[in-house]
Symmetry: C2
Subunit: 770 residues, 2 copies
């Protein structure tokens, strides 16, 4: 680390409120997303989705469709040159189904045609002879021996078990035990840009795929596997992206585009899903059933936690196994519970497909443990913040899953900040200010955490390049895509800081297998941390290149050379960056440097945990105020305080973007959102009946970051992308209870569910009064 990476006082860019470098062209609409492209010679691709959630395919007849004028090609599984499957962990999802369909999102055939209308008509002419099979609609039933087997190894895709201490003994010795079952919804990513993109093959057989994705290099690998094609002959451009949130981590339409591009005689082919197609084919958040039993002593010390979580991954694994593993790793919250017995199942059903989504399984378990923390505090009559402060682990202590947490831990500080914030301190006053007499207000809080980066044993590296350009500016290349989170601005800040230049001199290119190095995926809250560190490793190499070149040009020792904004000086002489570029160019020397970074990992994994522990976690506490309409059951979130520990904050404005976006997404998850699937068929297919929060539902959100600098991060930064939406879920559930006395165990907390909870509460009170 150079000096300017360690002395915050001297920072010019890092930690400042820097305007997003991609902001202007995005807000003006100037930026072309990849699905915005049109070409004169373009053809349209369409995907035939399955008619049934579970059926045998006896025959596919494409003859009529092929005959339709304007149709360029009709492809089925027989046209796949390579492996007919994809999936980040296990490639169990067919590119095009051959013998069986397992969900209505399954693709059966592809069409390319002169117009979208012809392509659609061609789809209707493909005759598929299906033989419907029994539908597996419930994850618990899927695990019973009598359920139809959806995959050769049965319906349990993966199982995760973590045990520590002696839970049986602990429950015997406990003073308080709370036990509940929680149900969580199938949330949709609801990105603005649905899945799409375009592909083209040039006359030499080089294939270019432009398709929003979260890991261009891995997408390329999956394409190459299905095409049995040399990956070096495929270019994947995956950025910019009109929203992803995990929903574009897995392959979406990349392989379809590549397959079609092989059959369109060099013409570009475009696919762009309608919202309905997107809802049906796209992955969702895993709905969970979580049974939890938590024990504490009368002094509030947590004694034991027992968890059984079942996640419905739908027809294919995608990242389901990893989601369950992360859920189990985080199922006890950021606490030190000495006795735990945790078990998770990732289960196949015919309910669409579930995969990666912001929070990645932690949302579903946080609502359990934090509700239990609340119930224990209530039973003991202690302050919920005090109870948490008593039980949180600190840096160097052993977590509930049994490993010593060596990286920075901010929970305690976030709780202290919560305690001192206006909303919490004056909560009793605010609660009285109801808007109508039949409405009730509650203020509550919850805390959570989220692993940053991949777990143990998984590749986790950052890579960046910096190139000096002819105009004296710098091109920073990072594999990690800009999926809207603002990492491009962070990379520019890091580069500008170390290169000692104005941020306008930094251009950033991301997500392009031909222009950026392989730097891993944009998930797991890792892109600021890993990409930032990679840029921070590359930049000093550029400084060295500039200094040494200037020294050579001036015939002076490098130690005499100083890097200034826009020029280099030594003993009164000045050199512009343009002149340094020209010198390097004339002398045929490289103008490009690289930086590489490998995430530190724990030495030993937790057996059976499927990737735990992480080396690094981000922490966050949410305080919320809700108002519940006791006549309708409707809940409004009126105020949110978000207190993240993301390590050093690179860009307060960017952090606020994340905390605000995350809070709103958490509100949607808790109160409104659920993709309903009945017998394998999607009942919810568009925003007409999938309600997400709009500006009307967006409350005042305040952000008070706690900066627990992480020694291994760039300038001390960790990650933030996921934890911002997690504790708010439990906080809202708890605030509803604070307002009304009713507990919600099944999300979303729709007016109907809240109303019913209020009703049964009333009945209970009436009964106990008798």
């Amino acid at each position: 680390m150079t000096d300017n990476q360690t002395n915050p006082e001297s920072f010019k860019w890092v930690g400042k409120r820097v305007k997003r470098i991609d902001g202007p062209e995005k807000v003006t609409g100037e930026l072309k997303y990849m699905t915005d492209y049109h070409f004169d010679n373009m053809v349209w691709g369409k995907v035939l989705q399955s008619e049934y959630p579970h059926a045998k395919i006896n025959h596919i007849d494409t003859e009529e469709a092929k005959k339709l004028p304007g149709v360029i090609c009709v492809l089925t599984h027989k046209d796949i040159p390579g492996f007919n499957g994809f999936g980040i962990v296990v490639p169990d999802q067919p590119v095009l189904c051959s013998k069986v369909v397992r969900c209505t999102g399954d693709a059966v055939a592809l069409v390319a045609a002169e117009t979208l209308e012809i392509a659609e008509q061609a789809l209707s002419l493909i005759k598929v002879d299906y033989e419907p099979l029994e539908v597996v609609a419930d994850a618990e039933l899927a695990m019973t021996p009598s359920a139809p087997r959806l995959h050769p190894d049965g319906n349990i895709h993966s199982q995760v078990i973590i045990k520590n201490g002696d839970t049986e003994k602990a429950f015997q010795e406990a003073d308080i035990i709370v036990e509940n079952t929680f149900y969580s919804p199938r949330q949709m990513h609801a990105f603005i840009e649905t899945e799409g993109g375009w592909g083209v093959m040039d006359e030499e057989g080089f294939i270019t795929i432009r398709c929003p994705g979260q890991y261009a290099y891995r997408d390329r690998m999956q394409i190459a596997r299905s095409l049995a094609y040399n990956p070096e002959r495929i270019r994947v451009i995956s950025s910019p992206i009109g929203g992803a949130f995990g929903g574009k981590d897995e392959i979406t339409v990349q392989i379809y585009l590549a397959l079609l591009a092989m059959h369109t005689n060099g013409r570009p082919v475009k696919i762009h899903y309608s919202r309905e197609e997107s809802v049906i084919a796209g992955i969702k958040r895993h709905p969970f059933k979580v049974q939890m039993k938590t024990a504490a002593k009368s002094d509030g010390t947590l004694l034991a936690n027992e968890v059984r979580a079942v996640g419905d991954t739908g027809a294919y694994a995608s990242l389901g196994g990893a989601v369950i593993a992360l859920a189990i790793e985080h199922s006890c919250g950021p606490y030190k519970i000495p006795n735990v017995d945790l078990e998770g199942f990732c289960v196949y059903t015919n309910n669409g497909i579930a995969g990666a989504f912001r929070g990645f399984g932690v949302n579903q378990v946080c609502m359990g443990i934090e509700t239990h923390m609340d119930m224990i505090a209530e039973k003991l009559g202690v302050d919920p913040i005090e109870l948490r402060k008593k039980n949180v682990y600190h840096q160097g202590e052993v977590s509930s899953v049994g490993h010593v947490v060596k990286s920075s831990v901010g929970t305690f500080k976030t709780l202290e900040t919560a305690e001192n914030c206006d909303l919490w301190r004056n909560r009793e006053k605010y609660k009285t200010e109801v808007s109508e007499p039949w409405k009730k207000r509650g203020v509550s809080l919850a805390t959570s955490f989220h692993g940053i980066g991949m777990g143990i044993g998984l590749p986790d590296y950052g890579a960046a390049s910096i190139e000096l350009l002819q105009d004296g500016k710098f091109l920073v290349g990072v594999g990690c895509e800009e999926i809207g989170g603002g990492n491009s601005t962070v990379y520019a800040q890091v580069a500008a800081e170390i290169l000692n230049c104005d941020i306008s001199n930094i251009h950033v290119v991301q997500g392009d297998t031909s222009r950026t190095l392989d730097g891993g995926t944009v998930t797991a809250s890792r892109s600021t941390y890993t990409g930032g560190r990679a840029v921070a490793t590359a930049a000093p190499n550029m400084v060295k290149l500039l200094t040494q070149t200037a020294a050579e040009m001036l015939n002076l020792p490098a130690s005499k050379v100083t890097i200034n904004t826009n020029y280099i000086s030594a003993e009164g002489k000045k050199l512009t960056y343009q002149s340094i570029y020209q010198y390097l160019f004339d002398n045929r020397k490289t103008t490009r440097v690289e930086g590489h970074f490998y995430l530190p990992k724990e030495k030993e994994g937790i057996e059976g945990s499927g990737g735990a522990p992480h080396h690094l976690y981000g922490y966050l506490t949410h305080v919320v105020m809700v108002e519940v309409d006791t006549l309708t059951g409707e809940t409004d979130v009126l105020r949110v305080v978000s207190i993240p520990d993301a390590g050093k904050v690179m860009n307060p404005q960017g952090l606020e973007g994340q905390t605000e976006g995350g809070a709103v997404m958490g509100i949607g998850y808790t109160l409104f959102e659920d993709i309903l699937i009945e017998d394998g068929y999607h009942k919810t297919r568009n925003f007409t009946d999938y309600i997400i929060p709009t500006i009307r539902e967006t409350p005042l959100i305040e952000t008070f970051p706690v900066e627990e600098a992480e020694a291994t991060g760039p300038f001390g930064a960790k990650g933030i992308g996921e934890v911002v939406m997690i504790p708010i879920i439990a906080a809202i559930m708890s605030a509803i209870h604070d307002a009304t006395g009713a507990r919600i165990y099944h999300l979303p907390a729709t007016p109907e569910r809240v109303f019913n909870a209020l009703k049964s509460l009333k009945n209970k009170k009436t009964q106990s009064a008798r």
Copy 2:
């Protein structure tokens, strides 16, 4: 294709007896193989192999070993940053075993030390607490329910089934049925250079592995997976190789080298297996049990074939599944049998590890079908060549596995050539010329075929680069390694032919992820075909670059420019290649072109076949004469005629190298070679008791190629590397029968087995005489 690729008359290099370009430095010993390297600061790596063929590991204690002075590191499974497994198809083999060992070739720990002696001593100080488990020593027993399960999904790694027609009916209607069980040995590759190489990590974390292998890019992928490391930061150099024959297709010590290199503070680490270590850890040819039942009509028309083949893959899959699949695809020979019922199993046992080996499963089934052809001919009293000619499929006909063979088919012509060769025509005379009165001679023949390239659905591409060098010569880069087969000379010939230059102007670089493009693996007889086509695709691009540049330099249209040996001319003006290089360099233009090629594939795969059919096959007929010592059972092969159809012969001298080497390897397989394993322990561990043919056992081998030009191949070439060793096996078995009347069904045909066969023949005759 340019004109000089299609008119054989004008060829200057292709089809000529060109001296191997790698010959001089190999025969003089000047070439350094990778295990020959030594460095001053080098450290030695050693691998701790398992003490037991099957055992639980309770604990591994490395403390004492670590304390030994001179020890640099001791690593176990806990030190693997990524995925603890490797394997080309299924990564089921642990890099370092953690809980269980499944064969004595399993690696349990790694050591690096200042000297080899210290490393060896350190190994002896590692205490592994094993709990021996029941050993699965037999593949048939492994498939029974009571056998211990070696892998989670049971002991059957894969099953292949191909069915066509109605065998039951065919057997009822047959005039002749022969039915036998064949057993084949566990052959060793017996390459001169045992597994080894070295690895080093530089101060920036870039890892270089120099280790003989058959696919540098795939080795890199497997290393990266286990190291959880960015593959772009790993360079694998895999060529030159002191022999491979398939035995270096799978990972050997590459991952160990990379792991150790991470712990030696930048010092290079070298591993080089002793022959014993190589025998125990290295893969072998799958021993097979083949049950075969073949039916024919009285006119010799083949009616049906039923095959059940069981291959013992040992403890891990490696390419076992593919070997079984290829065996089944080829189990009916190059014939058109309308009714077949073929089934193959690849089974796990504790008998070492089996994988890729020249012939790749076809050897083991060819001995069955060809022995049956012989027996049918004998029963019908027809000429064995006539019987074969009657049943072979021709180009455009349907093979026994039921696909139309569209590529060139040379079997019929090879049989005709056999019929007309001296050995066959004068066989009766030669048979009388026995060296001793108690010796008997037999002459016989067999024919076979072998798929070229990967089967359907697998990636199969060639890629080559050609660079104009400063001295006016050309550097041809091909990913495919020179494993001794002579492909480097073929690449040079192709380039020299199209570039119209002397072959001494061509340098070839192979097998280096930093210097060559990904062009697939050197297996499946594919490297001449795919690499050759890639060079033949790159070379015209270089011609174009030279012509256009010269035209630009001379300010003339490109059509006026002529490429001559060593210079370019146009309208009386001459330009040297050096001057063209200089012009390109000065103008900052590329001096490098690429060529890419994708193998044509069949449109539809055969269901359940695991990769069949291939698009392309090579064919070969062997005629052999043997002399059997009736007193000792010893068999000498006295003469071999090898009649390959490898398409256009690129280099007759190279082809002869292959046919001669293949024949000798076939002789060793048939008569001598077998790695004996009892209860999981290797009884054969070195050349002291593993006998391979020497020059003494090498007979006169004549090669009469039949050139059935393949339209898709470079200049019409196909492949040759594997089929050269296949039919000779059955031909020798048949010649022993011709000489003595005794049939051998269990290889190797050791003196003991032949003697016993003669004895039981005598008993039988005596009995029938009574």
